[in-house]
């Protein structure tokens, strides 16, 4: 048994994209000091990862993987905090936390398992399902069109934005490593086919292509790359790679500023 395994029975569907994400993550952290790694998860298929990997973990509530990570990082900035979340988790239920964590440049890495639907509840549309998505709650097709989450994150001042694919484990491992080593808020969107309810593997195999690092500090370039694919089912090319990376002051350095320069007793004296 690998030291990173818990021997917990894995209940992901055979062929689930999450296997690729777990494998890539385990490879990505091989050389890290594991005692300093903490993962948080929300609720959903992605979140079972907390049971499958033998590292510190905080299995949070649905949509709340990110605020948990922020609290952990503020309590102990030495920890490397990695958030696993899903599209239902952080683009529907907890989207405000995602936006604000990016805006703050909280020093965490968010790995977004994007299977583009609610899977554990057996297939309903999320914020990134294609327009007219037919699921159990929308048999006639969903009456909404998707958002582009990476465009939203660029607008929210995320300092590292990347996309990878669970079917390209080598690429994903590399991107996760880069995201973890980035100082500040990093997001890795992982295209993650759901074999049971929305199997996009063929589409991704055909349309994804890997881009090289170019002008990573340019918002305009980033936006162009991010907008190449609009999350609809039509035959568009889907770039994988790092779209944007800049350096900015870290949130915990700016927020944890209280110095102990007075005592309760001194204050009580002052209040007489």
């Amino acid at each position: 048994m690998n030291k990173l395994d818990t021997n917990y029975k894995n209940t992901w569907c055979p062929g689930c994209g999450n296997f690729g994400i777990l494998a890539a993550f385990k490879k990505a952290i091989e050389d890290e000091d594991l005692s300093k790694i903490v993962i948080t998860t929300g609720i959903g298929c992605h979140a079972k990862l907390a049971d499958y990997i033998n590292v510190n973990s905080f299995y949070s509530l649905h949509g709340r993987s990110i605020p948990a990570a922020e609290g952990i990082k503020l309590a102990n900035p030495e920890l490397k905090v990695i958030v696993f979340t899903g599209d239902g988790d952080s683009l529907d239920e907890g989207i405000s936390h995602l936006i604000h964590a990016a805006k703050r440049n909280t020093d965490i890495t968010v790995i977004l398992h994007n299977n583009r639907l609610f899977a554990l509840t057996t297939g309903q549309f999320t914020a990134v399902s294609p327009d007219s998505f037919k699921g159990k709650s929308t048999p006639m097709g969903s009456p909404e069109s998707p958002i582009n989450p990476l465009e939203l994150l660029l607008a929210s001042n995320a300092t590292f934005i990347a996309r990878s694919y669970s079917g390209n484990i080598k690429h994903l491992e590399e991107i996760i490593k880069r995201a973890i080593s980035h100082k500040g808020f990093s997001i890795v969107e992982v295209l993650d086919p759901c074999v049971s309810f929305f199997n996009t593997a063929e589409l991704y195999n055909k349309n994804t292509y890997v881009i090289s690092d170019n002008n990573l500090d340019s918002r305009e370039e980033a936006l162009k790359k991010i907008r190449e694919w609009n999350y609809e089912e039509i035959d568009q090319k889907i770039p994988l790679g790092i779209f944007y990376e800049i350096q900015k002051k870290l949130y915990f350095e700016r927020a944890l500023i209280s110095k102990k320069e007075e005592t309760v007793e001194q204050i009580l004296e002052e209040l007489i």
Partner: protein, 547 residues
């Protein structure tokens, strides 16, 4: 005068609150015990704000309806409060704003401007006129100004000096032998108590009447970090994340924000993460009456969190108790790895009291894991408390919102495993009950302790109840720890009771329901739910009909 009240009022932005505080500090220095009630509306400029400063030779915890002095910065102050002024009461008013044919008119704004100040310094002129009227030495006025007006001290002093010399002394407030005490609000006191117990981080989203906890801690250098987040949900979850990583955290809000936090309470209970949640009540439901008081969240707080859970709910009634329980509740949360709620209300949070500390508060030791063998976050133990370890060291720490096994992995297949973990928590709840059973101060008893007539009350109803009871054959029981319920202590005090009267500030009688659940039936209820705090005089009038 041994017990008197001064009302200072004006529009929001005219500085009536500051004037009230300065007057309170002067009287505090003369040995009087102080209670300040601050009244304001949900707006920034205009409207009507006032402070009522009550001074007494005895320690006091509530306001008085009757006024001895009115200091008016605007017309509305006179219009609204004149009928509460005693027959021999004194009025001092800002004649630049107010036309009135009695009392002492001071053209306060004109004088403030003539001395080089701005019209807001009219409040200084009024303070000085009042100080001279009651015979305060100029030196005391000057010293107080020096402390209270760090900016613009010179101009304020010039204004004060001029008025002081122009106004006549009407009476002489005698100096008492009492030592002056700190003047502090309930919110400030609970923040300091928690700090003594090792508070590391305070998380909040602004919400009246809890906001001043955030402001106070942010403005001080106590080594407590203050973090404002995007909503109350992130506030509670981030606090739980910090607790998981070993830092003592507290959050604060009012009813509406507390409602958002409830998913975190249930989570904290199953994941056994310590957190203190301050709920400072306003009048509900929903947005309710945001800047006024009430006690209508009790049912909700006691029942907050889905699943089979027990937490601590503790309701102090004044600054002394806020300080003590603000510290103790943080220690209790960590001892039992549980969510714990400090339930106060606007009247306690934002009123100013004299503080006396009767118990040393310090950060108490917690049960930590020793380093041998594989760490199990949810180890099954006899008393249900599992040793703590934090990420970053040798142990792998797995916390979870799912039902789980001892290591912290999801339990789903095995009924035995699921029951074993619930039963571990049940044993912990029993230990929490035993802790409360042994707390002599989980309740407090006042009044005629051998009386068969018993008044039971809580929170901000306690101060007015105690004073109202003074003229009756009545024993008063204050319940401070509401969950787990201190049944042994309460039953002991009720052994000889023939009549039980409940006093609380909500419409349904929520403490009365809690008592009933514990087998105690109230004979009479005194309820107030107008959003303004219940006055001792109001309780007295109703008690006359009952007893």
């Amino acid at each position: 005068m041994k017990d008197f009240t001064i009302l200072v009022g004006g529009q929001a932005g005219q500085g009536s609150r500051k004037a009230g505080l300065v007057i309170a500090k002067i009287l505090n220095n003369l040995g009087y015990r102080i209670f300040i009630y601050d009244d304001y509306e949900s707006l920034i400029k205009g409207g009507h704000s006032f402070s009522k400063i009550r001074a007494s030779d005895k320690k006091i915890f509530t306001q008085s309806s009757e006024l001895n002095f009115i200091l008016a910065l605007d017309q509305k102050t006179l219009d609204k409060h004149l009928n509460n002024l005693k027959d021999d009461g004194i009025i001092i008013f800002n004649s630049d704003e107010i036309k009135f044919d009695k009392g002492l008119g001071i053209n306060a704004e004109t004088i403030a401007k003539e001395e080089g100040g701005s019209s807001i310094m009219a409040n200084t002129a009024i303070i000085a006129a009042f100080a001279k009227t009651i015979g305060v030495d100029f030196d005391l006025l000057k010293n107080t100004f020096q402390k209270e007006f760090k900016k613009g001290f010179d101009i304020n002093l010039k204004i004060a000096e001029r008025i002081y010399n122009e106004v006549d002394e009407k009476l002489k407030i005698e100096k008492l032998d009492n030592k002056p005490l700190s003047l502090i609000t309930g919110n400030e006191a609970l923040a300091l108590g928690a700090t003594k117990a090792g508070l590391d981080i305070y998380y909040a989203y602004p919400m009246t009447p809890a906001t001043s906890i955030l402001h106070f801690l942010a403005g001080r250098k106590l080594g407590v970090n203050t973090i404002q987040l995007e909503n109350e949900i992130s506030v509670i979850i981030a606090a739980l994340g910090s607790a998981y990583a070993g830092k003592r955290s507290m959050v604060g809000t009012s009813g509406g924000g507390f409602a958002l936090m409830t998913e975190g309470i249930s989570f904290a209970a199953i994941a056994e993460l310590p957190v203190v949640i301050v709920n400072s009540q306003r009048t509900g439901p929903a947005t309710g009456v945001p800047t006024y008081t009430g006690q209508s969240d009790l049912n909700f707080v006691l029942n907050a969190g889905h699943g089979d859970i027990v937490k601590f709910t503790i309701a102090p009634s004044n600054a002394d108790e806020c300080f003590k329980w603000g510290g103790r509740i943080l220690n209790l949360a960590w001892k039992y790895q549980t969510p714990a709620i400090l339930l106060v209300d606007k009247e306690i949070s934002e009123s100013t009291f004299n503080l006396e500390i009767d118990q040393e508060i310090k950060k108490e030791e917690i049960l930590l894991a020793d380093k041998k063998g594989q760490y199990e976050r949810y180890e099954i133990t006899d008393n249900g408390i599992s040793p703590l370890a934090f990420p970053g060291g040798d142990a792998i720490v797995k916390a979870t919102s799912y039902e789980h096994n001892e290591f912290g992995l999801t339990a789903e297949e095995s009924e035995e495993e699921i029951m074993a973990m619930q039963e571990k928590r049940l044993r912990k709840f029993e230990a929490m009950q035993e802790e409360v059973d042994l707390m002599a101060d989980a309740i407090k008893v006042y009044g005629k302790k051998d009386s068969k007539n018993v008044l039971i009350t809580w929170g901000s109803s306690v101060g007015p109840s105690i004073e109202a009871a003074e003229n009756f054959d009545l024993k008063v029981i204050q319940i401070i720890v509401l969950e787990p319920f201190p049944i042994i202590q309460v039953m002991k005090e009720l052994e000889d009771a023939s009549q039980v009267i409940c006093v609380e500030q909500n419409a349904l009688g929520q403490l009365t329901s809690l008592l009933s659940k514990n087998g105690i039936e109230a004979d009479e209820l005194i309820l107030k739910y107008s959003s303004r705090v219940i006055q001792k005089e109001e309780i007295e009038d109703l008690l006359k009909e009952i007893i």
